[in-house]
């Protein structure tokens, strides 16, 4: 299905001239760094100017540099055919997967996308997928993207988004070079001037030039004597341009045969002279200047070399320059991740100012120390689950599984002491486990304080950058933003930035955001845009789990009776349970007794120790006497919550 790369079509066999130098340089760059330099690379030129050759050369070169790469070359028609075949076989998904997994996709002749809407959609999808995965796409066409008739706007913008280069008709010198190389490949030898004559004809493409060469080879083969330049001119039907246009006052009497070549001869001489004059090192330096200037780097250092007569160690100088540029690239990429604004600074484009660039990067690096991370004291394992926080917990798990995708933002709302902070930090810890994650988890108060310090130190930019690189932002107690206009403004922008990048946002609040006072409408509406998971008062089951954990933490024995007793006591928050346990534990320590249900009851209900009169508290409290209503049944579904009224049941029985 996929064409194999023609082994003849490599960069080595590609004759580079002014008309295609840019395309070849771009092709080489792409082959060296697939996916990172120009993506997609779109090459267009008229027919027969070497598009396919260049495209295959990219494939060969990339493969040679990194043999593990999966490279697919195919023409658009082949792609269409393959797609149709796959659809017919019901293998559409497999087809897509196959192409999404290539490291470099080389598609020839994409101009045939005209009037193929479904293929355009398919290619758009593929382009997006490949680009997102950082895989290289190289396309060729006989015209620029915008001129391909009936091409989807989105495809045009995608194709144009990388680099669009054209290849022109080769100039005279390139034509000579091509002819010489091809003649050599065929083992054909010509007299001086023959190939130059053929090159003098401005064929619209290289294929016709090859046609001319074929004719010359054929004519020479049938004649005994080698072909002369004059004979070649006749074979190719070349009309002399210069002589007919001679000016009226001069040369009219000159014999055409002896003078027609004067200019060509002159040109050849000048070419030789220039070739000698522009020494090879100058050409190398000039090439480097051209290349790096094209990539936006200052090349003053290289240009200085050209001013010298005979500089020492030119190649070392070029290598050092490239080394510096690579370093600048690395710095820029690093800074880009930390602070996109700072990355645009000129200093990262000037190898003369390496020290400044290093300093600038260091500054950004310092400024963008990772934002506060979640506290390790709140692991998810130790978070007590129950009916009251079921929704919040399942939302948390969904967020951990797919951050930024499902519930974004997630607002955990509930009264104080219900474990919002715990859950928030727990999610943060889980998110941190993901590769490349930068989780900012802090209290809103700390967030405000940091901003104030940044404003004070005139470092707001990097303060922003610091949070902007976060893959998740978790803010505790968002209600503390009330009245802090500047922080709300900053959060608003940060919020939008992070949402745009599909980064996860999680907040905690004491109540539903729309009931919070002092928050700007735009903040509230954004908070409501995701999921507001309310955490209710802890149910008995949750209380029991939490108590067990608290007791264990305090190294106390968690007897079932004690747990049941404590869990049955009303408590409006998990935090209050801690207080409860603390009271019991303190008392037990004071009385030098083990912590038990009886002791707990005594302390919490004020019942005197045994033998002090047997006074019992009045009232409806049945703590400690009743078996837990949950009866150890952990599943909510299996619990009967609404008993039918007794009278109904009696009637039922009587029937």
């Amino acid at each position: 299905m996929t064409s194999t790369l023609n082994p003849k079509f490599t960069f080595e066999t590609f004759v580079v001239g002014a008309a295609n130098r840019l395309a070849v340089t771009a092709g080489r760059t792409v082959a060296e760094n697939p996916g990172s330099a120009y993506n997609p690379l779109f090459i267009y030129s008229g027919s027969g100017l070497g598009k396919t050759h260049l495209l295959m050369a990219v494939g060969h070169s990339a493969k040679a540099l990194a043999p593990q790469l999966n490279i697919e070359y195919l023409t658009l028609d082949e792609y269409v055919e393959a797609f149709h075949a796959a659809i017919a076989a019901g293998q559409g998904d497999a087809f897509r997967r196959r192409f999404q997994n290539v490291d470099a996709l080389l598609v020839d002749d994409v101009q045939f996308l005209t009037n193929r809407k479904e293929m355009q959609a398919e290619l758009l999808r593929l382009t997006e997928a490949l680009q997102q995965a950082g895989h290289q796409i190289v396309l060729t066409s006989d015209r620029p993207p915008a001129e391909i008739a009936d091409l989807d706007e989105r495809l045009i913008s995608r194709f144009s988004g990388g680099l669009v280069v054209d290849m022109g008709i080769p100039d005279y010198e390139t034509r000579v070079a091509i002819l010489r190389r091809k003649a050599e490949e065929r083992g054909a030898r010509f007299q001086p001037g023959v190939l130059e004559t053929a090159a003098g004809v401005e064929f619209p493409n290289v294929r016709e030039l090859m046609g001319a060469l074929n004719r010359l080879v054929a004519f020479q083969a049938v004649n005994d004597a080698p072909l002369t330049a004059e004979a070649a001119r006749q074979v190719l039907g070349v009309v002399e341009a210069g002589v007919t246009a001679a000016s009226p006052t001069a040369a009219s009497s000159t014999a055409a045969s002896s003078t027609g070549d004067e200019f060509s001869q002159f040109l050849t001489d000048v070419t030789t002279t220039v070739g000698k004059a522009v020494e090879a090192w100058r050409a190398r330096v000039a090439e480097a200047v051209l290349r790096w200037e094209g990539e936006g780097y200052r090349t003053a250092r290289l240009e200085k070399l050209l001013d010298q007569d005979n500089p020492a160690a030119v190649d070392e100088a070029i290598a050092a320059y490239i080394h510096d540029v690579e370093r600048l690239r690395a710095l820029e990429a690093e800074v880009q991740a930390l602070d996109p604004q700072a990355a645009g600074e000129k200093v990262f484009r000037d190898p003369e100012r390496m020290a400044e660039a290093e300093a600038a990067a260091a500054k950004v690096r310092d400024g963008a120390a990772p934002p506060p991370a979640p506290s390790g004291a709140f692991p998810l394992d130790s978070y007590a689950a129950g009916a009251s926080n079921d929704v919040a917990l399942s939302a948390a798990r969904a967020v951990i599984a797919a951050p930024g995708k499902k519930y974004n933002p997630l607002v955990l709302a509930g009264k104080s002491g219900l474990g919002k902070t715990h859950l928030l930090n727990a999610i943060g810890l889980e998110l941190m486990k993901k590769k490349g994650a930068v989780v900012a988890c802090l209290s809103t108060q700390a967030f405000v304080d940091e901003l104030i310090a940044a404003i004070d130190g005139n470092r707001v930019d990097w303060w922003r950058a610091r949070y902007r690189r976060a893959t998740a932002l978790l803010l505790d107690d968002i209600q503390l933003l009330a009245g802090k206009d500047r922080t709300q403004e900053e959060l608003f922008n940060l919020f939008n930035h992070l949402m745009d990048g599909d980064r996860q946002l999680i907040f905690t609040a004491p109540a539903h955001p729309n009931t919070l006072q002092g928050l700007e409408e735009r903040i509230v509406s954004r908070l409501e845009g995701g999921l507001v998971a309310e955490i209710g008062d802890p149910d008995r089951e949750l209380r029991r789990t939490a108590l067990e954990r608290i007791l264990t933490q305090q190294k106390l024995k968690a007897e079932p009776a004690l747990l049941d007793y404590l869990a049955d006591r009303p408590a409006d928050s998990v935090r209050s349970l801690t207080g409860l346990v603390q009271r019991v534990a303190d008392a037990a320590a004071a009385q030098d007794q083990p912590v038990s249900a009886g002791l707990a009851r005594e302390i919490l209900e004020g019942q005197p120790p045994a033998g002090s009169g047997g006074r019992r508290t009045t009232g409806l409290r049945t703590s400690g006497l009743v078996v837990s209503s949950a009866g150890g049944v952990r599943s909510r579904e299996k619990m009967v919550w609404d008993w039918p009224s007794a009278s109904d049941r009696l009637i039922e029985d009587l029937r």
Binding site: T259, F266, V274
Partner: protein, 199 residues
């Protein structure tokens, strides 16, 4: 104007045809014009009097295309030979990369030749250029005239070419020696590339 621009990869040679009036400078350009394919030459600008004498200057741009990766252009100028157009001559000479001195081979024109040569030297000096540092070639034109009227190239060399620059016998009207001269001056100019001292 720099001869070579490495950044834009261009070579631009300005060559001035200098010499006394009626020595055949414009004829040289016309001949070259006639030999350059149309696609490679620009419009030849000639500002002439009614009697076909160069009033201001002739200008012929030639595009040699890409040579060793450099877009190479030649600009050929002539100066008006008449003594009273010196201001124009000086102007045209400005920024010249090379000079072709077109001498008149007629024996009776020898003084004019000498005078023009001195004028060249002084005009170059006005631009702060020592004539010894500029590529110059000599062309002894009108060698087709009857022997008795002209001096031989050797005699002219003795009289004019005291610096021993390359010299060529020519018959510009029929093209003899025209391209040889152009080639020689081009080589001299372009060889300065190798010396790395753009003019």
């Amino acid at each position: 104007m720099s001869l070579v621009n490495f950044t834009t990869r261009e070579i631009t040679c300005k060559i001035v045809y200098y010499g006394p009036g009626r020595s055949g400078k414009t004829t040289n350009l016309h001949y070259v014009y006639g030999r350059v394919p149309e696609s490679r030459r620009g419009r030849m600008v000639s500002l002439a009097t009614q009697t076909d004498r160069t009033l201001f200057f002739d200008f012929l741009p030639i595009d040699l295309g890409q040579i060793s990766g450099f877009a190479t252009r030649f600009q050929l100028y002539t100066v008006p030979g008449q003594v009273y157009y010196n201001a124009t001559r000086r102007l045209v000479l400005q920024g010249a990369d090379g000079v072709v001195f077109v001498g008149d081979s007629q024996a009776r024109q020898l003084d004019e030749n000498v005078e023009s040569l001195q004028n060249l030297q002084s005009n170059l000096l006005e631009h702060g250029i020592d004539v010894r540092t500029v590529p110059v070639v000599m062309q002894y034109n009108k060698q087709d005239l009857p022997r008795e009227l002209i001096l031989t190239p050797a005699e002219l060399d003795d009289a004019l070419n005291f610096r021993g620059v390359p010299s060529f016998a020519a018959d510009a009207l029929h093209g003899q020696g025209v391209f040889e001269t152009l080639k020689a001056i081009s080589e001299l100019v372009l060889k300065r590339l190798a010396a790395g001292s753009p003019a």
